[in-house]
């Protein structure tokens, strides 16, 4: 009886172990590609929109910048081989959950080159309209010092009617992004310089 139980335990554990090993091997093997795929497929379209004048591939020219122990991925947009804008992710609480927003900032002009919605769980047909260009375009070209709040909260942005909370979420994300930008700006420029020097 004991022997039978022992066999059960051993077999099951062994199978699990082997499977675990196999899976971690596959994972290691595919890890980088998956990361890249996620960047290309999830962030790619938003990036293209946000850094619409870039002639390079912002995904390839990305930087990891650490701030207060949190790593931020910053995408670099170059026009004619010269840095013109950067983009990064930010989040803000919407109606259905966090809204992920890609924020592009024109470094030379200190304006928003555009924003794009990455992820959201807003109500389809209402809150989900935040991803429509008619809404995101409202941010385009605004100075980073603008008051990114909906008009209800005495800000500058027209909220989508019936989706104030979702609009608020986007604004919040943008606000946070602008603040982050001000903190990161120096670091980013330093890194870019370093990189071009290396070349």
């Amino acid at each position: 009886m004991i022997k039978e139980y022992l066999k059960m335990i051993i077999v099951l554990t062994l199978i699990a172990t082997v499977c675990g090993f196999l899976l971690s091997a596959v994972k290691t093997f595919t890890f980088e590609r998956i990361e890249e795929q996620i960047l290309v497929n999830v962030k790619g379209p938003a990036l293209k929109n946000v850094l619409n004048q870039a002639t390079n591939n912002p995904i390839n020219d990305r930087l990891e910048i650490e701030l207060d122990g949190i790593s931020h991925t910053v995408f670099i947009g170059k026009k004619d081989d010269r840095l013109y804008a950067i983009a990064f992710e930010s989040t803000g609480a919407g109606f259905g959950g966090d809204i992920g927003v890609m924020i592009g900032i024109d470094i030379r002009k200190s304006t928003l080159s555009g924003i794009g919605i990455l992820t959201h769980q807003e109500t389809p047909g209402l809150g989900s309209r935040i991803s429509e260009t008619s809404f995101t375009d409202k941010f385009k070209g605004r100075s980073v010092n603008d008051n990114f709040k909906v008009k209800k909260d005495e800000g500058a942005i027209d909220a989508i009617s019936g989706a104030t909370n979702s609009s608020r979420g986007v604004c919040l994300a943008t606000e946070k992004g602008v603040v982050l930008y001000s903190k990161l700006k120096a670091e980013i420029l330093k890194k870019i310089k370093k990189r071009s020097n290396k070349k």
Partner: protein
């Protein structure tokens, strides 16, 4: 308030069987008689809630901690399989009466994709613990509801004249389609409910 919306959403609007396509094998398999359907429904409600309870913890306290979320599938299914077997043994010993009425459905539940589906869904939806439990519970109720309704209709097939080619599964699927269409009518109910509740 939030949970009322969640309930309406899980039971009617996004019914796990009819709108999310989960758990269709037992839906077709054990829906020939209303009493077995009810038994299966009860078993699913119970196991679904309990399984989600456990997998939620496993996910956030093990997988996330060790940064091995990619093992989610294998870990969850193993946990569910072990859990179901455990419940089966427990019932057999402690509550034989319940085992007689529900026990026979338990082995079927391991391969019921609704259980795993809900466990994974609550993770992808970033639900809080309480939300997850409620969602699982209501999804179970939605499952049971659809199953019993469907079984009620299928019982009538016994005494109706069905062309040979449509017999059994074929007519069952078409019926399921019509029920799904009826449930389709609940679309938007949760949104309007939500806006009413917020006001």
């Amino acid at each position: 308030m939030e949970y009322i919306v969640l309930a309406v959403n899980a039971i009617l609007v996004k019914n796990i069987l009819l709108a999310q396509y989960l758990g269709n094998c037992p839906f077709m398999g054990v829906s020939k008689k209303t009493d077995t359907a009810a038994g299966m429904g009860m078993a699913v409600i119970f196991v679904m809630t309990f399984a989600t309870f456990i997998t939620w913890f496993v996910h956030y306290y093990f997988l996330v901690t060790f940064n091995i979320e990619y093992l989610q599938t294998i870990v969850f299914i193993l946990v569910i399989a072990a859990l179901v077997q455990l419940i089966e043994m427990f019932l057999k010993k402690s509550v034989p009466a319940l085992y007689r009425s529900l026990g026979i459905f338990l082995p079927l539940i391991t391969t019921n994709c609704a259980i795993l589906g809900v466990a994974v869904l609550v993770i992808t939806k970033d639900f809080s613990f309480l939300q997850s439990i409620m969602y699982a519970f209501f999804s179970g109720i939605g499952f049971a509801l659809a199953l019993v309704i469907f079984a009620g209709i299928r019982e009538r097939f016994e005494i109706s004249h069905i062309p040979a080619a449509f017999k059994d599964m074929s007519i069952a699927l078409i019926t399921a389609g019509i029920i799904a269409m009826a449930f389709y009518g609940f679309k938007g109910l949760d949104t309007s409910l939500k806006s009413i509740l917020i006001k």
